[in-house]
């Protein structure tokens, strides 16, 4: 941490309420120049609200913001910008049609009057300087940002932030879509900025990374400040305990709880799809949890799409021994498959619809008679799953969009379960979900496996796969390069397979 003991920014007793929820209930926070300060907490703990207040997007109901010793008000994002506060949001805020150079210069353009001539050469010079600072000097400045990878876009976003005189850099879940190398690079960049005296506020769910990266860690729970601790004195277990206010031991299920049956529920034979998938064969038994690991671009997304009728394929798929041809998702559902998609807000949830409508959407025949909806049946099915999955809502007619990520995911899970599937396919089931909801979802999955449901988890989170699966298949460039039983599943060998080193391959 810096020797400079004047705090850069101090929040005192910040309160912010929304209808029906007190998002922040007297949170105080002190951030010094040259420190990386992590903020962790479950979804709904108030992290995003706090950041939006600093960004000038939201106004606190009460409390004080002190910036470099002076009390300030941040009524508008422009003010936050002028103070030197920059936010890199989880959903990147770049203009995809503009070039790299133009995006980096957006902040300076935005604060000017608007009628000055645009000097593209200045843009390029500035962008070049900023990107070399970020170790991205090789990036083509004239490329539209929409064509970059997520990691590159993120660097452009950070470049945009530091192109002004940034004093506080706030990152909200910055690496949820990054590979290991990209994350390492991001962290190196953040450490450089720290050395230059920038205060970094880092919001993340990945606790190991928080521990290795940050100087101090603040835990929020239910809109309240719980604790601020130096990173040296923290452990993952302690952080989790502080976040959830209780011990979470369900993240990894106890050994020997396997519920695999002999009957094969789901079998894929020599499945191929264009050049992206090559001769994939695997099976999932009833009661078995099978994981599919692989780096981004390995073909996991395409595999999920083929298995649910969202992408044309060649090869054969059998459900409970019956050959099926999946041309559309309604076919897949009819044959006993259910999908929990990766893109929760886009493909999973219908945000403006009510919770109960979201729950019954895949199973309309159960709640209707002769084409007429039976409202009591919709309500009953909704109620049943809200209770069974412990979905926290104010009412069944509450709009889906007002729920936290974890609760939305449970509603989507409920929608899948309402079809009574024999095979449940989950794609990144806990992405962006807090640790408490994660543990609950894992518990639900194990319960389903015990009831004989075949479960296929396609995920880029290895600890999740290792903790949950009876068997893990590893993909690389559209083919399987490894298969691990639960007893010998470990991160290193799986990663090696995911990077193309074909070891440990067994055919089933």
């Amino acid at each position: 941490m810096s020797d400079n003991l004047t705090p850069l920014i101090e929040l005192k007793q910040i309160k912010k309420g929304f209808p029906g929820v007190q998002a922040l209930d007297g949170v105080s926070l002190t951030v010094y120049p040259g420190e990386i300060h992590a903020i962790i907490g479950e979804n709904g703990a108030g992290k995003s609200t706090l950041m939006n207040i600093l960004a000038g997007e939201l106004q606190p109901d009460s409390g004080e913001i002190i910036f470099q010793g002076r009390p300030v008000r941040i009524p508008h994002p422009n003010v936050s910008q002028q103070l030197g506060i920059s936010v890199v949001y989880q959903e990147l805020a770049l203009a995809p049609n503009l070039t790299v150079a133009e995006n980096i210069s957006l902040n300076t353009v935005r604060t000017s009057f608007g009628l000055e001539f645009v000097n593209r050469r200045d843009f390029a010079v500035k962008a070049k300087a900023v990107l070399s600072q970020l170790g991205m000097a090789s990036l083509d400045l004239r490329q539209p940002v929409g064509r970059l990878t997520v990691a590159q876009q993120q660097m452009v976003e950070i470049g945009k932030a530091i192109s002004t005189d940034v004093k506080v850099l706030i990152l909200d879940e910055p690496n949820s879509a990054l590979t290991k190398e990209e994350t390492d690079h991001l962290f190196a960049v953040l450490r450089d900025l720290r050395a230059a005296g920038v205060a970094i506020i880092y919001i993340s769910h990945r606790l190991e990374e928080v521990l290795s990266l940050s100087d101090r860690i603040t835990v929020l729970r239910d809109g309240q400040w719980v604790e601020t601790m130096p990173a040296e004195s923290a452990t993952v277990d302690r952080l989790i305990a502080r976040m959830v206010g209780r011990e979470v031991d369900t993240l990894f299920r106890p050994q020997g709880a396997s519920t695999v049956q002999t009957q094969i529920s789901f079998e894929v034979k020599e499945l191929s799809s264009t050049a992206l998938l090559r001769d994939l064969s695997f099976m999932v038994h009833a009661g078995e949890v099978v994981g599919v690991a692989g780096l981004p671009g390995a073909g996991k997304d395409e595999l999920v799409e083929c298995c649910f009728g969202l992408r044309p394929y060649t090869g054969a798929i059998e459900v409970k021994g019956q050959p099926v041809r999946l041309t559309e998702p309604d076919q897949a559902i009819k044959h006993g498959l259910a999908l929990i998609p990766a893109d929760r807000r886009g493909t999973g949830a219908m945000l403006v619809l009510s919770v109960q409508d979201n729950i019954v959407a895949a199973n309309l025949s159960q709640v209707s008679r002769a084409g007429l909806l039976q409202r009591p049946a919709i309500r009953a099915v909704g109620q049943q799953y809200v209770q069974q999955l412990d979905i926290r809502i104010a009412g069944l007619t509450q709009a889906m969009g007002t729920l936290s990520g974890g609760n939305q995911q449970k509603v989507i899970l409920a929608r899948g379960l309402a079809t009574q599937p024999a095979v449940l396919i989950l794609h990144e089931p806990t992405r962006g979900i807090d640790v408490g909801a994660k543990a609950e979802i894992y518990a639900i999955l194990q319960q389903l496996a015990a009831e004989g449901v075949a479960i296929l988890i396609v995920s880029s989170e290895l600890p999740e796969l290792i903790g949950q699966c009876d068997r893990i298949l590893v993909m690389y460039q559209g083919a399987f390069t490894g298969e691990f039983d639960r007893d010998d599943a470990a991160e290193e060998p799986i990663l090696a397979c995911a990077m193309g080193q074909s070891t440990h391959l067994e055919t089933t």
């Binding site: 998702p329 559902i333 619809l353 959407a361 412990d390 926290r392 104010a394």
Partner: protein, 340 residues
């Protein structure tokens, strides 16, 4: 394994219903309508007579019939700009068939079928054709208008005996547009009421209606829920085309003439405006038939009141435009307060 200790904090259905009633978009529109009605009945005694109210009802009927269709299209997250042209095309063709001596039923069937067909083409192009419906229906607006001009050669079509219509068919045809049931209730209003009731049942009580909302809420989520997104959207356009055709037929039966260059020009804006004032969202997934009816009535009552008060037609346009902006603005504001 799954925790079962925690009580689900679901409020009782009744208090939830009351809360929803206050939050519902319809309530705001209804209050606005009542305030307007009270103001008008104080300002001009003529407003609150049965005759005048039925007159308002007739005047808004065609707009109302089309707005019911537009509710389906907007909820499914599409838009249809061609409705004014379909209205003209179908009305004129049906009128010409009557003039040519066709019987009532075949002429109506052909007209309505053409309306539905144009809707189908709109829908097909906007789904399987991968074009945005703003573009397809903008194009169709011109295509259908042009077709009407070609068929009529740009000449006015007047439906009467002199032009050659069968007298008995003609009187039946006129009755559709001009008749009054029990000498009191205009036929057009009766059509509107029937369309509204059927439209309400289909949208809020059936699986098809549910799918309309689901598709508009998120077409990707609807697809992975096993809903045939394209087919649902095409049906919304077919309903829209059919109802535009019906309104066009009633219009020519009322007047009883029309001209391809004039009939229904700009009507799409009134229809979209009424539907949006009634709470349907251009972003899809939201809207109700009840709300649309209220939206139609707001526009109808506003027009009628301004006429009764002797305010110029130019002001009417200005005020109606302001109401649209106000209504949508208020909605945005209350939505952000609700945390949506």
């Amino acid at each position: 394994m799954v925790k079962d200790v925690q009580m689900t904090p679901t409020t009782s259905p009744i208090s939830e219903k009351i809360k929803n009633l206050f939050l519902a978009r319809e309530t705001g529109v209804l209050v606005a309508l009542i305030v307007m009605a009270i103001f008008l009945s104080l300002a001009t005694p003529a407003f609150l007579s049965v005759r005048n109210l039925l007159n308002v009802g007739r005047q808004v009927s065609l707009l109302g019939i089309m707005s019911v269709g537009m509710t389906y299209v907007l909820i499914s997250r599409e838009v249809d700009l061609s409705v004014g042209s379909i209205y003209a095309l179908v009305g004129l063709i049906t009128g010409m068939l009557i003039v040519m001596g066709w019987g009532l039923v075949p002429a109506l069937l052909i007209g309505l079928l053409i309306g539905a067909m144009v809707g189908f083409i709109n829908g097909w192009l906007s789904t399987y054709g991968s074009l945005p419906s703003f573009i397809t229906t903008l194009g169709m607006m011109s295509v259908a208008r042009g077709a009407a001009l070609l068929i009529t050669n740009g000449e006015p079509v007047t439906v009467n005996e002199i032009q050659g219509a069968d007298p008995q068919t003609l009187s039946q045809f006129y009755y559709l547009g001009q008749g009054r049931v029990f000498d009191l209730i205009p036929m057009q209003l009766l059509f509107f009421v029937i369309v509204a009731i059927l439209g309400w049942i289909l949208l809020s009580k059936t699986v098809f209606g549910f799918k309309i909302y689901a598709v508009g809420g998120s077409d990707k989520a609807a697809r992975v829920s096993g809903i045939k997104v394209y087919n649902i959207k095409i049906w919304a356009f077919v309903i829209m085309g059919f109802l535009s055709g019906l309104a066009g037929i009633l219009s020519i039966a009322f007047l009883p003439s029309g001209q391809a260059g004039r009939t229904g020009v700009g009507l799409e804006l009134d229809v979209i405006a009424a539907t949006i004032v009634g709470g349907a969202s251009l972003a899809g997934g939201e809207g109700t038939i009840l709300g649309t009816i209220l939206g139609v009535l707001i526009i109808g009552v506003l027009r009628n009141g301004l006429i009764l008060m002797g305010i110029s037609a130019f002001w009417q346009e200005t005020m109606i435009g302001a109401v649209i902006i106000l209504a949508v603005g208020v909605d945005k504001w209350t939505r952000s307060r609700r945390g949506l």
